[in-house]
């Protein structure tokens, strides 16, 4: 079946509640991990836009423009944002591997999903701390 227009343009469908029905689910940790995946994705998007802007300034501006763009890079607040970006990236990658495994039909049971979730969360923290020690 091929739809030719977005589903919300279908009249009665417009009145249906939208996707994540957070209010009616019992709270679970795996749920939090899934939400964090989305939030980290959002934050990584902000970081990617920043990095692309930096490349654009480097490519089309001169040394002066670049200095202006990077003048806040030595601030403590910027370092915190950068460190958080690193953790978000590592978490999103590990959890993304989990998603790719699920796509092959493996690890979808309750126990397996919970275990892999805790593992990826723990490892992301561990790797991020290691990375901060090595690089920041």
């Amino acid at each position: 079946m091929t739809r030719t227009q977005p589903p919300h343009k279908g009249g009665a469908a417009e009145l249906r509640p939208v996707s994540p029905h957070l209010q009616i689910y019992r709270w679970q940790w795996t749920m939090a991990l899934s939400i964090i995946h989305r939030l980290t994705g959002l934050y990584i998007s902000v970081g990617i836009v920043f990095l692309c802007t930096k490349i654009i300034v480097l490519g089309f501006g001169d040394a002066n423009d670049f200095a202006m763009f990077t003048q806040f890079n030595s601030l403590k607040a910027f370092l915190v944002l950068k460190a958080f970006f690193i953790w978000c990236l590592i978490y999103h990658m590990l959890n993304g591997v989990r998603h790719l495994f699920w796509d092959t039909g493996r690890g979808l049971g309750l126990k397996a999903a919970a275990l892999s979730g805790y593992t990826s969360a723990l490892f992301s923290l561990l790797l991020a701390v290691l990375y901060w020690c090595y690089w920041l």
Partner: protein
């Protein structure tokens, strides 16, 4: 009237160029870019960031003159922004229920990331071609 309808459909394609709304292409491209991004981000975290993220102007230009770095950066930008556009689109679809705002946000996500990608790639090329 047929030509009007066709024009409207063509205009709609330029506003949001998705051929169908079943999400098959979305799903597939999200997975393909995810797999491609895994090694690229290992490179970015372990090689590119330590070498380039705190570099000064001249150092960074020199680093990006290296064709290997430039090509890997090029691939990272292409796949990252593609993956980003798809992810942000999902977020917009899930949380912005008002149809007009939803369409506006999708438009901004799609063309904003496209514009950013093209400009960043042009910048990478420009640096590579500079002597």
């Amino acid at each position: 009237m047929r030509i009007v309808r066709r024009t409207v459909r063509l205009a709609g394609f330029f506003v949001l160029p998705y051929r169908d709304w079943t999400g098959r292409g979305h799903w597939l491209i999200q997975r393909i870019t995810a797999v491609a991004l895994l090694p690229l981000y290992v490179w970015l975290l372990l090689v590119a960031f330590p070498n380039a993220s705190t570099a000064h102007h001249a150092e960074l230009l020199l680093w990006m003159h290296n064709p290997v770095n430039a090509v890997l950066l090029y691939l990272t930008i292409v796949f990252s922004l593609h993956h980003m556009a798809l992810g942000l689109r999902t977020i917009v679809e899930d949380y912005i229920a008002t149809p007009s705002l939803n369409a506006l946000a999708l438009f901004c996500v799609h063309w904003g990331s496209f514009l950013l990608m093209v400009t960043a790639l042009a910048a990478v090329f420009r640096i590579l071609l500079q002597s």
